[in-house]
């Protein structure tokens, strides 16, 4: 009886593998730090939503992939893809030479820039005007790196960009630097903040987001690139930009 059960189990398992290899689309897990509205955030129904999520879903559909999202803290999100805890990251990741040296990126899919948000009373219009003051950014983001470049300004890093805005609302820091779409969401669209903050100047960097995969996973990069090309050709990304009010 026991032998029979084992045999059935082995057969079932084998069948699973065979069917997975031939029929079902390849399943991948994609990590996202869902604290970055409107690109990726958790909505009232505890679901991860946002431009990146819709975009990734569309890309996966075009590329014949089945995608599951995993909400992951930004701090260590790269270490996770390296350790193989998930296959890719879509989380407003700017393509930088330093990151490219360590991870593989797909083709860029959105162009954005860093921008400064300050309290309404502040007169300065760029980071250098805030000399001697504290400026916040999310840890490990390109925004944090931009602040660090400016001498005389103290960088404060937060686990989530929302905490930096909260600290600015409490009057502890004089500015926050982050990606433009996120800055717009926090400074202009959030009721509690729109009366307190303003965006100054224009975005002062030229950056592009890419999907991150583990170094050497050429197969997945090719597949995702195919999906991105298809999405862009069908103008799905333009529709999504409109939906999430990106420029």
């Amino acid at each position: 009886m026991k032998a029979l059960r084992t045999l059935t189990a082995v057969l079932a398992l084998g069948l699973c593998f065979v069917s997975a290899a031939f029929a079902a689309p390849k399943a991948i897990t994609v990590a996202s730090d869902a604290t970055w509205p409107p690109m990726e955030f958790v909505d009232a129904n505890k679901k991860i939503v946002g431009f990146d999520i819709d975009f990734m879903t569309a890309v996966a559909k075009e590329a014949g992939l089945q995608v599951t999202f995993k909400n992951t803290a930004w701090d260590g999100i790269f270490a996770g893809v390296e350790a193989g805890q998930y296959d890719a990251i879509i989380s407003s990741v700017t393509i930088t030479p330093e990151r490219q040296a360590k991870y593989d990126f797909t083709t860029p899919y959105v162009q954005i820039g860093q921008i400064l948000v300050v309290p309404k009373a502040e007169k300065g219009t760029k980071i250098a005007d805030l000399k001697g003051k504290k400026v916040g950014a999310q840890i490990g983001t390109t925004g944090a790196m931009e602040v660090k470049k400016v001498a005389g300004v103290e960088l404060k890093t937060y686990d989530e960009v929302g905490l930096a805005f909260e600290d600015m609302a409490a009057g502890r820091i004089a500015g926050v630097v982050c990606d433009e779409p996120t800055a717009i969401t926090y400074a202009l669209q959030k009721k509690e903040y729109s009366s307190k903050f303003k965006i100054v100047g224009k975005s002062f960097t030229k950056e592009a987001y890419g999907i991150v995969v583990k170094k050497g996973n050429k197969e997945l990069v090719a597949q995702l690139n195919k999906g991105i090309a298809a999405v862009q050709k069908k103008k799905i990304d333009a529709q999504l930009k409109k939906k999430w009010q990106l420029k």
Binding site: D75, G76, F78, A79, E82, E98, R99, K102, G136, I139, G140, A144, M145, K156, T157, Y158, D159, L163, A164, E166, D167, A169, A170, G171, R172
Partner: protein
Amino acid sequence: MSTEAKKQIIDVGDGAAIPRKSDRGLFTAWRIAFFGAIGTIAYLVWSRPDPYLNIIKFVPDGIAVTFQVTLGAILLAIVIGLITGLGRISKNRFFNGVASLYVEVIRGIPLLVQIFYIYYALGTIVKVPAILSAIIAMAVCYGAYMGEVVRAGIESIAKGQREAALSLGMNGRQTMIHVILPQAVKVILPPVGNEFIALLKDSSLVSIIAVADLLRRGREYASESFTYFETYTVIALIYLIITLFFSKIIGVMEERVSVNK
């Protein structure tokens, strides 16, 4: 209990074991751990200066902040603990009730939540610098535990001591200050040492409110250089060295106090 038997009691606390007198000899656990950790860091820096030396150069101000938070919090926590402990044994119903409520409430809320609460919730009313609110949060939390330690220490002193002091004509206050507390300190010191080491490690939680302590400096380095494994190895070793260093100091202090036991 004989003196020998008392020495065998070892506190099982949330930290490195505090070295005892009996831990004599060249290869004590403490020495192996302490010099092993220092040796490991030295070897790593020597063999691969690229990530390791840079990490070591990046974190010193973080170590200073960790020290500040820990020492500030422990001093404040001892004061709060003493008041709370006296409150818990007080016959004054109001004082006793307030102290008991404080202990029950604080012990039931995770430290991380308290740190968040004191920083962000109270921050909307009074603007307190991050490092100060970190110290307050840690002290409020550990003050509750310390209060229980003080209470247990005082209650461990035999009733006869108090009765004898009272019959000599001392009042309640004098009895407490000159007879009970000096004896209780000996009992209290080892668990306070444990609390101190636990607090030192828990101070890493304050990095959540953007205090640039040892852990946050490490995370900042790792997130820019993508050397997560290397950075956290160094951070762990530094915490270990600091913890062992303090456990040694506490061990020495205990020996001093217990000389005439």
